[in-house]
């Protein structure tokens, strides 16, 4: 498939996405189309690369603004403060408080529901499917297609960075407020894209993605979530 498939609609969506002009539902459409082309679609990669470059250059038209006083030192201090959460997070015990806090922040930031677009594409004859798009702190898109009351779900991801050697992405769900996070499956994108089965509880209030040691992931999160959403 991939490059032989038509790219007319994709190109229209990609240019608007790079300019920030897509509605949420159209972003879901873009993610679904790119997933249908697969991770090896050279034409998709070319279009995204080239239009990202063009949009980035439009931004260069603006006169640079001076950095605020102490910005550089504050940034480096914040970066240093983040390091322990990646390398010294507890293993096997209760999830770190900062992890829970980070989920709360991510959830508060924004949650976009793509109303059934991906779900319809994956299983057009199944009623009641819902799609939730996770808010990320890194580039890429992650959506979860699920059916309330059922444990089986499908994760659809596009534009994700490589998680790094020896690590995988792991999906988590929180069955109820205050409960500990439960593993829902691991996945490794190929050229940024993934469509992976997941098992979530029959109900959940938060879903999140972290990077964990591969190949099987962790029983509990050991790093900050990079994507999250509340239901």
């Amino acid at each position: 498939m991939s490059s032989r498939l038509p790219h007319d609609e994709l190109e229209t969506l990609i240019v608007a996405d790079e300019l920030g002009g897509l509605e949420d539902a159209e972003q879901g459409r873009l993610a679904r189309l790119m997933a249908s082309h697969g991770p090896d679609c050279a034409e998709c990669r070319r279009l995204v690369t080239e239009y990202t470059e063009v949009a980035g250059r439009i931004g260069l038209l603006l006169e640079p603004e001076p950095l605020w006083a102490g910005a550089e030192d504050a940034l480096v201090a914040a970066a240093r403060a983040q390091e322990p959460s990646w390398v010294e997070a507890p293993r096997g015990g209760r999830p770190a408080r900062r992890w829970i806090a980070a989920v709360a922040v991510g959830v508060a930031a924004a949650v976009a529901i793509v109303a059934g677009v991906v779900g319809y594409a994956l299983a057009p004859n199944q009623p009641g499917l819902r799609t939730i798009t996770l808010q990320g702190t890194v580039p890429g898109r992650v959506s979860l297609v699920y059916q309330p009351g059922q444990s089986d779900a499908v994760l659809v991801a596009a534009g994700l960075p490589d998680p790094g050697e020896g690590t995988v992405y792991e999906l988590w769900y929180q069955p109820s407020a205050g409960a500990r996070m439960r593993p829902a499956g691991v996945f490794t994108p190929t050229d940024g894209s993934a469509v992976a089965p997941a098992r979530v509880g029959s109900s959940f209030v938060v879903v999140a993605v972290t990077i964990e040691p591969g190949p099987d992931g962790s029983p509990q999160p050991t790093s900050n979530p990079i994507f999250s959403a509340s239901v």
């Binding site: 300019l19 002009g21 990202t52 260069l60 603006l62 603004e65 605020w68 006083a69 990079i226």
Partner: protein, 191 residues
């Protein structure tokens, strides 16, 4: 695709060093691209403190996950500005309903940076900006207007269609044609 190869090679080397935990490389990237990143964010969110938060978060995410930037997918500069732009657009869409845009605040105190480096970067930036201005000026005004409303004001195609009284399909086709022209002008000519 034509790229500013020397500048890009330098950036890519810096990102590789950031992946190794090199704070100096991180600082250099921030000094080089922080100001233009702030300009992009500030143009959209119109509030200095929000723009600063967006820029800082974008750089922190680079520090946390430098593999997020993949060299085969273009220049670091474009990737960074795209990241900042998307964050700023998300921010204004979230707050659009209740936000009242604050009046322009007086400029913050300026961080001291290496003067020589600034001069070199400014010369390169002026050259690049001139090239982009020419490319934008060559666009039909109807296409240019839509690209500017989308990129600089963070408006969706649907909103633009409503404001200009145009069919959505016309806005989409003008967006596509404008971006294709820009791509031809900017990426298919020597840097």
């Amino acid at each position: 695709m034509a790229v500013h190869s020397l500048e890009d090679a330098r950036d890519r080397d810096l990102v590789r060093r950031v992946a190794d935990g090199d704070e100096d490389a991180f600082r250099t990237l921030f000094r080089r691209y922080g100001p233009v990143a702030k300009a992009v964010a500030a143009r959209l969110v119109r509030q200095g403190f929000m723009a600063e938060e967006i820029v800082q978060e974008a750089f922190l995410s680079l520090w946390r996950a430098p593999a997020a930037y993949r060299e085969e997918l273009g220049t670091f500069r474009a990737w960074l500005l795209s990241t900042v732009h998307h964050r700023a657009v998300d921010s204004i869409r979230r707050e659009e309903a209740q936000r009242r845009r604050a009046a322009d605040a007086p400029p913050d105190p300026v961080t001291e940076v290496d003067a020589g480096e600034v001069v070199i970067d400014r010369l390169q930036a002026q050259e690049t900006r001139g090239q982009i201005r020419r490319a934008m000026a060559e666009l039909p005004p109807a296409q240019r207007q839509i690209l500017e409303m989308m990129y600089f004001d963070g408006k969706t195609q649907s909103v633009i269609a409503g404001e200009l009284g145009l069919p959505l399909g016309t806005v989409k086709s003008r967006t596509l044609l404008g971006m294709r022209r820009l791509r031809a002008s900017l990426l298919e000519e020597a840097p």
